[in-house]
Each structure stands twice: as structure tokens, then as C-alpha cells.
Symmetry: C2
């Protein structure tokens, strides 16, 4: 790689890797979990919260920001980093997933997708080219290609059509991406990295073909793995990671999109994944759910009513350092905003810290034993609460 992007694999342990991904806004130690700030805000958290809990790279979403406040406005305000006051690396998803989720509101053609805004019903068109321009305006370090996403259980023929179209769209994305890098040097982040996205549903041959076809288009700074954790069974997802792991280059970061829960992160690292993102830790917080090392719990449960222990006894996050389950339960039941912030803080911290621990295990050459023990403890509790 040239320019501000590079990836150093420091150590491998089985298929698991520990590395450093360098970006224009600083390095990212991998494996890493990236909190999601869909609308240029990681829900309920501010940049200081994110720094304190150890996040180094965060996500935003091109579809949502295009509609509100508009990518042109974000650019006017100096780009995403300046707008949201996050000085670390940012990745924007292209919005492919969101656009293709608008069942009944959209028309898919080879040129692109026409759809109606989920906010005001206005007619919008996304093409590979327009999405590159949107992501240029937003100014993330890493931008994702516009791809054709299908549901996790899609049959072979539909998954193949979408996968092959995603490859053709990738080529168009790169043409427009290269043009913009050359002709629009005053964009908020002049040198960005475009990541392709491996598709193919839960069909091993399609996943293999997609990864191979992407490699045939040339060298990339990093590789996205999309269309997983969208309704398929977990063993199917893990099998697809095994397939993709065999084909993608070992000296580039792999980003498993929209995944996920703690067990998925550990299983993903074991299959060569370096980067993860998911709305789960903040969305779960809004339902009262929180992670512990012995499984998921819910703060609404009456058993915490007078519990003076923190959410998770072994956690070092700000919420656990200070507040009892009893207090956070009271806040949640009373619909106090602080409850959402504390639960989100804890859940995001949990995943960031989990990947930090995984990284340490890879560096120490103990990942297999560590991950086995971690998963056994996480799944140890038989009665959910």
C-alpha cells in the first residue's frame, strides 16, 4: 500500500491476527470493534466517552447522513471529523444495506437504485457513482463500495445476481473514486481508502467467487465482508468466514460488517477477521440489555432492585466504576436518559475491551485457549434473565 494507509500484521495465532491498520487519522490496533454513529453520533455517547472507553475508529452511515443533514452540509462544516468532533479514524458504510432494506419502496436496476426516503417519502437515487460522491463529501478515512445486499436466507440464484452486480458496481465505484481523488483534492479527507465488499449470501461457491472476483479487480487497502448477520444461522455465517478467509490476501485488513455480538466477534477473530461494527451495544442499551462475562442480562429484572454490585464485576468502564445495578435499574425504570448513556457506555466498552483482550491473546500465542475459555464462560449461565 502507498500513502497514509498500511496494515502491519504483528502476529498470527491459527487464523487469528493481531495487527495495526494505519489511516490518515491515526492507527487502529486490530482486532478492533468500531462503535456505530449512524447519524454522526454514537447514540447517547460523546467523543470523550468514546476515547475514555478505548474506541479508536467509529462508523457513520452514508444513507442516513445523505438524508439528514445532507452530505453537502457535512462537507460545508468541514467533513465528518470536524462536524462531530471525532479526531480518530472514521469509516462510512455506503448505505447499500439500508437502501436494500426498503422493501417495496425501491426499484433496482443495473444503473442503481431508486427509492423513497424513510423520512419524508422523497424520491432518491443511489448509484455507485453518486454514493462515491456522498462518501467523498462526508470525508471518512475508509469508505465502503455501494453493493447489492440480499437477505441472509436468499436462494442461490438471487444471491448470485446480487453478488455479480456488486462486482460490476465495485468497478464503477473505483472509477469514480479515482476520479474524485484526482479532481477533488480539497475534500475533507483528501486521501481515502475504498473497501470492496464480499457478497454471496450463505453459498460457499458464491462467497469464494466473490472474493476471487474482487481480487481479480486489483489490490485493495482492505476488504469488507457483507451480507452476514442478516437472518442466517450462526454456523452458516462462520462457514462463510472460513471460505472467505482462504481467498482474501493475508496482508490486508478484513472488516466483517454489522457483526455483532460478543460470541460472533470471538468466532470472527478465529476466522481471520480484523474489524467489526454493530449497533447492538447501543441499541441493546435502549432495551435495558447489557453484557457480562457470563452472558447477557437485562437491567429491568427485579433481581437487581437492591443490588449494589456494578453491571459486571470485572468491568472497568465508567458506569461500572461508579454506579450500582440498583441505581441504573431505577434510572431505566424511571425512563431517565442517564440510564441509556450508562448502559451504552458499558456495552460498547465491553466489546472494545473484548477485542483488546483477543489481541493480547493473539500476541501471546494463547488465542485458542483464551477464546475457548471465554466462550465457555459467556455461555455458562443456563437461565436467562
Amino acid at each position: 500500500m502507498t500513502g497514509p494507509f498500511s496494515f502491519d500484521v504483528q502476529h498470527t495465532d491459527g487464523h487469528a491476527r493481531a495487527g495495526v491498520f494505519h489511516t490518515p487519522h491515526g492507527p487502529v490496533e486490530t482486532p478492533q470493534f468500531m462503535p456505530v454513529g449512524t447519524l454522526a453520533s454514537v447514540k447517547a455517547l460523546d467523543p470523550d466517552d468514546l476515547h475514555r472507553l478505548g474506541a479508536t475508529m467509529i462508523l457513520a452511515n452514508a444513507y442516513h447522513l445523505r438524508l439528514r443533514p445532507g452530505d453537502d452540509l457535512v462537507r460545508t462544516m468541514g467533513g465528518l471529523h470536524r462536524f462531530m468532533q471525532w479526531d480518530g479514524p472514521i469509516l462510512t458504510d455506503s448505505g447499500g444495506f439500508q437502501v436494500f432494506s426498503l422493501e417495496g419502496l425501491r426499484t433496482i436496476e443495473e444503473e442503481g437504485v431508486e427509492f423513497r426516503s424513510h423520512l419524508d417519502g422523497s424520491l432518491q437515487q443511489f448509484t455507485p457513482e453518486s454514493v462515491m460522491r456522498i462518501e467523498r463529501n462526508l470525508g471518512a478515512d475508509v469508505i465502503m463500495q455501494f453493493d447489492h445486499v440480499v437477505p441472509g436466507q436468499s436462494p442461490h440464484d438471487l444471491a448470485q445476481v446480487a453478488m455479480e452486480r456488486s462486482i460490476r458496481w465495485l468497478v464503477r465505484c473505483r472509477t469514480e473514486f479515482d476520479r474524485l481523488q484526482a479532481e477533488d483534492p480539497l475534500a475533507p479527507t483528501p486521501v481515502q481508502a475504498l473497501f470492496p465488499i464480499v457478497q454471496g449470501g450463505i453459498h460457499a461457491d458464491l462467497r469464494r467467487a466473490s472474493a476471487q472476483a474482487i481480487r481479480n479487480t486489483g489490490d485493495w487497502v482492505g476488504y469488507g465482508i457483507g451480507g452476514l448477520s442478516v437472518g442466517e444461522a450462526k454456523p452458516d455465517m462462520y462457514a462463510m468466514l472460513d471460505v472467505v478467509n482462504e481467498v482474501l490476501p493475508t496482508d490486508r485488513p478484513r472488516y466483517l460488517m454489522g457483526v455483532g455480538f460478543p460470541e460472533d466477534l470471538v468466532e470472527g477473530v478465529a476466522r481471520g477477521v480484523d474489524l467489526f461494527d454493530c449497533v447492538a451495544p447501543t441499541r441493546m442499551g435502549r432495551t435495558g440489555a447489557f453484557f457480562t462475562t457470563t452472558g447477557r442480562r437485562n437491567i429491568r429484572n427485579a433481581q437487581w432492585r437492591t443490588d449494589s454490585a456494578p453491571l459486571d464485576a470485572s468491568c472497568t468502564c465508567v458506569a461500572c466504576a461508579r454506579f450500582s445495578r440498583a441505581y441504573i435499574r431505577h434510572l431505566f425504570v424511571a425512563e431517565e436518559i442517564l440510564a441509556l448513556r450508562l448502559l451504552s457506555l458499558h456495552n460498547v466498552h465491553f466489546l472494545v475491551a473484548l477485542m483488546r483482550d483477543a489481541r493480547a491473546a493473539v500476541l501471546a500465542g494463547t488465542f485458542e485457549g483464551w477464546s475457548h475459555d471465554w466462550l465457555a464462560r459467556y455461555h455458562s449461565r443456563s437461565t436467562p434473565s
Copy 2:
């Protein structure tokens, strides 16, 4: 005064005073604005936020905490300070205002008030004695008497009945308060201060009689002034403060309950008030309104769409140090929780800083000129937005 409570008046300037109110959980420089944490949480803010913006004393509410999570639970958890992790002074309102706001849901008798919970309709009874026990369990430094509150425009006869009952209830409160201090030494805050509340609506003779009757009951650590800012005209409120100021002892702190907006605070200090509280700065934040030195604004206004300035150019709060109006407007329009936190932070900081400035002016002997200039600037803008 004896024990952990004392009040030092350091300087006076006209009727305005600068002092220090000492409590078991530390000193409070006056005049001071106290943020309101009705349910043991200042909405959207955490204790670190409050310390950073300069708050030293906060409020909670006995009525709300009695219903949820229960004063017994708070006591089990070590009292309010420990439960909510606020190590500074706390004051609890008795809930008189809340109980008497339950029009149609309550029966008032000399013994006390029977009412139905606004949450689940369950039958509850508050008497002067039961409220003292609730506030003992909560463990604030300063606790307010249970009083009979009437609407701001109440006629003379109704205001007189309520005022006279409040005096009788004060005597009952003190008997129970003294008993609890003697017989319940293991309460979360063993030595508390009970404040009486001056009532009398907008009738000067009743206000005078109330303040005098309270003085006749003995000496008090501090004095509450209640039943104002509840619908009456501002000149009426200011006139009542002038009346009360003449009667209350000058060497004790005066707390004007539920007030208020910036102009009310400045006018209150000019009339000898030392302590204020109001839900306005956090409640306003939830509607998008924010204070500036040239008047109130609303962040929803389209004029801020691409405004890179902070909420208030002269403000030093965390929100203003970092974020643009354009970003906060985006967050508010997109219904991001962070918008509420930033607006609340700013508004609470604004009132806390305003009282800090007023204090400095009193100490410098420049309060009259300072307050005149401040009010003129605050009211200078003719077109609201």
C-alpha cells in the same frame, strides 16, 4: 447555628449578598443555582458533568422518590449521596408542590393529604410526620418542610388558609424532625437541616405574616420561599421577595423555590435571595431552547443550519467549547440523545455561571451596575427565534 451547618455572609451590596453556606457535604458559595435531579438524576447529566460545570449543590424530590424507587430502597442503598454518586450537598423538596398539583386526585385535611400516585393510581398519604421520615431516609443535607401550596393567583382567603396550615405543619415537622435526629442516628446523613417555607401567595400581608410566624417558631438554619413562579406575574413575585426580605433574618440563607429563568435569578439576588433551583434548564433543553447572554434561542431554528459558532460565544461549557450550533441542531432534529445532553449541560452551566458572576459582582461592590447591564443585554434582542 451549631453542628455542621453555618452561613457566613461575606459581603452585601444593596440587598444582594455573597456568602458561604456550610453543610455536612461541603460548602456552597452563594448566590448559587442548584440543578434539579427530581428522580436522583439531573436529567441527561452525570455527576462528572455537574462537577465540571461548577454545580456544588443539587436537588431531589421526596414525592417522586417516595413513589419510585421508594425512600426505603434509597436508604437501603446508603442514601441519596451514595445511590446517585453525588458527594456534594443535596436538598430534597418535600413534595408539597407535587401533591397539591394533583388536582382532583387528592383530599386535603388538617392531618395531611391523601392522594393517588400519578404512576399507578395507588392511594398514598403524606403528613408532616411521614414526609419527615421520607426525607430522613433519603438523607439530603437540607430537607424542606411539608407545606400547603396553592396556585399563584389564589385569592386572599385561600392563600391565608394554606399559609396558616403550613405554619401548623411546620411545627409538626419540627417535632418529628427532632425526634428522628435523636432516635434515628444511623440515617444516611445523621445531622440534617430542616428549612421552613414562607407562603402567602401574592398577598403582601400574608407573606409578611408567614415570615413573621416562622420566625416566632424559633431559629432556623435557612428559610425557603415557596409558592412563587407558579403562574403569577413577575412584578408580583418580585414584590413578594421585597416583603419577605424585610422580615427574614439577614444571617441565614434564603432559598427561592422553583425559580427560575436568568432574569428571575438576577432579580432574586437583588432582593436578598441566596439559593435557587429550577427544572427549566434541563426541561428547556428537551424542547431545543437554550440560553445566551442576549436572550433565549431555539436550536431547531433553520438559521443555525450551517452555523459553526457555539451555542453562546462567551460560554465556557463543554458543549460550547467543542460543538457548533449546526451539529447540535442536526442532533436535535435527528432526535439523537446527545442533543439533550449538550443543551442541558449548556443551560445548567449558564445559570450556575450567572450566579458565580453575580457573586463576584457583590464581592466587588458592583452588583447594581452589573445586574443592570446584564439584564439590558439579555433583553436586548427584540425578535425571538
